[in-house]
């Protein structure tokens, strides 16, 4: 059983056991435009909920990537660093950013489900 949740900073998070995979939403990539640079957290480092855990840059500007939950970085996706355009192509699946071993499962409860996020994304971009 895995569940996907969404943050107000336009990250998605998929939890399987205590391992969370995190990336940015399709809506985020549409707002950013062509992504040409990605920076990921270091493997083994600890990140805190709502803290900065990476950077993406489009041709226009740089944006921070936040982590929606706290945990230890257990894996990062080198493929998107080598070819950042993959993030535009498949943001919510193969172009994930990093995986965390999460500390506190209850942090997931503060996040939105798909319907709520879609509504939120629509409202904030209008």
């Amino acid at each position: 059983m895995s569940e996907v949740k969404y943050s107000k900073e336009h990250e998605w998070i998929k939890l399987e056991g205590d391992i969370a995979t995190i990336g940015i939403t399709k809506h985020a990539t549409e707002m950013l435009g062509d992504i040409v640079f990605a920076e990921l957290p270091e493997k083994g480092s600890n990140v805190e909920k709502d803290g900065t855990a990476g950077v993406v840059e489009s041709t226009k500007a740089a944006s921070d990537v936040y982590t929606p939950v706290s945990g230890e970085v257990v894996d990062t996706n080198q493929a998107i660093v080598d070819d950042p355009s993959k993030i535009n192509q498949d943001p919510e699946d193969s172009a994930w950013f990093f995986k965390l071993k999460i500390k506190d499962q209850s942090e997931m409860d503060t996040l939105m489900n798909k319907d709520d996020y879609d509504k939120f994304a629509k409202e904030t971009s209008a």
């Binding site: 435009g33 640079f37 950077v55 226009k60 500007a61």
Partner: protein
């Protein structure tokens, strides 16, 4: 303040443009395909840019006007041929740059293309300097579009016969369905191309015809990546009142003949800088990795001394990597000097390099 719209606004909307406010105008930053695709399409095919927000200043006059303008611009306007264009600057007495511009000699005087954000101030300055002796019109009734890229010559020539015989940096009057249009072979992308000055009422029609022939609308986002790859300056970023043409490494645009006389505004400083050198100078900067160093990024030498600042930096789609330019202490301006760029608190290696990042393919014209 009300933002202005160009005559192509409706076409931009139909083409699903994302708009930004730029110099008081609603301008398309990109269309649905995005900056990278638009950039590449311009390099490989042909792109149309709405630059109607830029100023089209017509100044009417003959010999007297030439004399008066030579007091202002560091150009040999007397010997400039009819319908030929030059890149130049409007400077203050300290040789600081008010604006960079393209000036073309026409049969009635001169046409000067000015930056959108500067045009009203330029008009004021020029009016004062010329003491209202010559009729000046900053023409809001004309639009300006650029068509750029290797296929542009054929595409435009299919619509307006004869333009493909123009040489680079020269122009002429042509007719589009009986309307007078002034076309120069020029642009700001590093590609062969044209700029077309046309009455507002007909620009939509012309643009749609060019699109039918295979060209595409391109936004300001790609215009920025294209000009930066071509090593061209953007006013307000790479050029401003605190920088001189010599510091901006644009001394090629200053007439040698005029320097020897030294009788234009700012000439004292220009001559001094040409003789004694400058402290800071504009250079190309290529980051070693993929990190993008944007405007205001600080530049350090290998001893960690702050030696300059980036004035433009982005990802270059044709270079397929980051590109930048900036001002640096002259002693570090030699090609291949290793420098460090501070991005988000960390220093990243980069090298000083020659400009452009992307080689131009300007066409000298079919008649030669």
């Amino acid at each position: 303040m009300n933002t202005k719209k160009t005559s192509l606004y409706q076409l931009h909307q139909e083409s699903k443009a994302k708009f930004v406010e730029f110099a008081g105008y609603q301008m398309p930053i990109q269309y649905s395909e995005g900056i990278v695709e638009e950039h590449k399409f311009t390099r490989n095919h042909s792109g149309i840019f709405d630059v109607s927000h830029m100023g089209q200043l017509f100044i009417y006059g003959g010999e007297d006007l030439i004399k008066d303008l030579e007091k202002i611009f560091p150009l040999d306007l007397k010997n400039l041929k009819l319908n030929h264009s030059k890149y130049s600057f409007l400077m203050n007495k300290d040789a600081g740059i008010h604006d960079d511009l393209i000036i073309t000699k026409t049969n009635e005087g001169f046409l000067i293309i000015l930056n959108a954000a500067c045009k009203d101030n330029d008009f004021k300055i020029l009016k004062e300097l010329l003491e209202e002796k010559h009729k000046m019109v900053l023409d809001d009734n004309r639009s300006l579009i650029a068509i750029q890229g290797p296929k542009s010559s054929q595409i435009l020539n299919d619509v307006i016969d004869g333009v493909k015989d123009l040489n680079f940096m020269s122009g002429n009057w042509f007719s589009f369905q009986d309307h007078k249009v002034y076309i120069t072979r020029s642009g700001y992308t590093g590609e062969d191309g044209f700029e077309i000055s046309i009455p507002n009422d007909f620009v939509d029609k012309l643009t749609r015809e060019l699109i039918n022939k295979g060209s595409k609308l391109i936004g300001l986002g790609a215009r920025d990546t294209l000009r930066l790859e071509a090593g061209l300056c953007l006013y307000g970023h790479d050029l401003d009142k605190d920088k001189t043409p010599v510091e901006a490494n644009l001394k090629w645009a200053i007439s040698k003949e005029r320097i020897s006389k030294g009788d234009f505004i700012g000439s004292d400083i220009i001559i001094k800088q040409l003789n004694n050198g400058v402290n800071k100078i504009r250079v190309g900067i290529k980051p070693e990795g993929r990190i993008i160093a944007r405007e205001k990024t600080k530049i350090f030498n290998k001893s960690d001394v702050h030696i300059g600042e980036i004035t433009s930096g982005t990802f270059g789609p044709s270079v397929n990597g980051p590109v930048a330019m900036g001002y640096i202490d002259n002693e570090f301006s030699k090609k291949n000097t290793k420098v460090f760029l501070e991005v988000r608190g960390r220093k990243h290696p980069a090298n000083i390099c020659g400009l452009p990042f992307y080689k131009k393919s300007y066409v000298k014209g079919a008649t030669k």
